[in-house]
Symmetry: C2
Amino acid sequence: MTIKDIAELCGVGTGTVSRALNNDPRVKKETRERILSVVKKHNFIPNSSARNLKLMDTNTVGLLCMGINNPFFQSMFHPMESELEKLGYSAFFMEVGVDEDEGEAALKLIHEKNIKGIIFLGGMMKDPDVVLRHVTVPYILCSVGIDMSSTPDCIAISVDDEKESEKAVSYLIKEGHERIAIIAGRKDDKAVGALRLSGYKKALEKHGIKYDPKLVFHMEDGIPDFSAENGYKTMKKVIKKCPDITAVFAISDVTALGAYKAIYEAGLRIPEDISVVGFDGIEYSKYLHPPLTTMVQPTDEMIHEATENIDLAIKGEGKAKMIYVGAKLVKRDSVKKERENGTKVKHTS
Amino acid sequence: MTIKDIAELCGVGTGTVSRALNNDPRVKKETRERILSVVKKHNFIPNSSARNLKLMDTNTVGLLCMGINNPFFQSMFHPMESELEKLGYSAFFMEVGVDEDEGEAALKLIHEKNIKGIIFLGGMMKDPDVVLRHVTVPYILCSVGIDMSSTPDCIAISVDDEKESEKAVSYLIKEGHERIAIIAGRKDDKAVGALRLSGYKKALEKHGIKYDPKLVFHMEDGIPDFSAENGYKTMKKVIKKCPDITAVFAISDVTALGAYKAIYEAGLRIPEDISVVGFDGIEYSKYLHPPLTTMVQPTDEMIHEATENIDLAIKGEGKAKMIYVGAKLVKRDSVKKERENGTKVKHTS
């Protein structure tokens, strides 16, 4: 059943059918109603929908998102879907909550009709070999935090969290900061959190600054990690326990947002009293006051690599590899140059 | 195939199978590998997954989200899914981009196997009668902006945007503000934008303040509406064209976030120079500097009403109705009391 058939049955042109379907006021009410009744009777689906349905049935990639509350991942859903469509796939979106099992979610996806592959997006995968064992279709890990001691044999795309964190902290050091606190992941975080903390340590070491474990503040248990609330509560501790710091490295932008609030509530200024550097490059980071200096992850490139590689994998041409994409430090106004290099700077409120 | 069968085949207890599946270190490597090979061979799906798959096949509600870039709606996805699961449904999530057609998306959902009902969440529906004509399963509109001149015969849940906006602006007036700008929706927004603008006008009228169309600033075309960028660009215009305002009502929190940046860039202070009131109550609003006074929408109540009502509708007990839930003004630090009631206050920078 095409739009032509509908037009013929109604005794009108295809343009009129199209306009009627789009509720165009140029179509008389009676004509529209007649057309719609025929459309309904024959269960006609407009062209583009029919195409989509066809794709949906035959060529679907599951997009399994595990960081739905992080704007960084949220910003990737839609472009990812568009890129997949360009490659001839329909995207099937599914979210996994922090308290849920990615393996079960993947199973759900696979048992949906004709899922050809899965892109895992974001989040932390505690037992990659357990989770991925169930996945019987080609898949890609895109910015998924996994424990680096277990290395599943798969295609993974990510920034080099350790190296980029080292660069972020090195920037603070070059601006004259020495007492730099870090809001790190949870104590048991062996993935992204561990890598970013390791980068922090390497930067200190490289620049001859002694590592002080007292300046490491892990996100709290009991509230979601990488959340503004966790950043806020953790930063309150930083200020209380280490009033002599001049800078803080928050390992995510949303965490930095929470840290801002804690700093302001303590009567301190950014960057005059405490400089702040984030990580991720979410849209909102430039709207903070002051705009946040942050390590921006290249979402476009990650999306491109993920979609190209799932396509290859589905075609049987995928090879297990780790694809690193480069991040970029975007300097805004949240970092102050500490001219008195090497000396402690007192906070004034 | 149950976990018992697997245990029997492997010659171990069910506890061991469970531990092996969960990668518990107490299970010896060889035992685990033997169990996993049996699991794989028989394509065994652990219990809770099997349950989920069953639900997926038989009792699924589509969650069609149209405001994916708005944290307000993002915060609702997961609780909505949990509530649906309590009622015995599995949730099937699908997003619709701003440039896409909800009708087509709904068709996709309906043609998935056994979708029992749809909850439309967020966004703006330009042609509700065209879109909803295709929907052959029960559905609910939850916080969906629709042109009020066309009233589809359905179940819709929302705050009373006009009334709550009137309350928000009345609060500013009671604090002594008279020159109040509004960052309103796009000029052609006949839904949420129109209702919130109408509430603004009513508040002025009620308090005997003359409505000045010069204080109405519509969001720009060409960039996403209700975005931080749009709030930023529109607020820049407000400051340039109306330097005598003492307050601004931004009709969404994300828009207010953008407005903050424009105010700070102009060298002005919040609330000393310009008071700001938002609408929505997103999580981030309390992390702004200063924390944003905003009309908080009761997401829990909306989720409860949406899930209860889709359940009733699926059971054939649904009746077309408009369900209004009450919003609450949360007072934070972005509004200053204008003591010189009725006099113009000069900005100092």
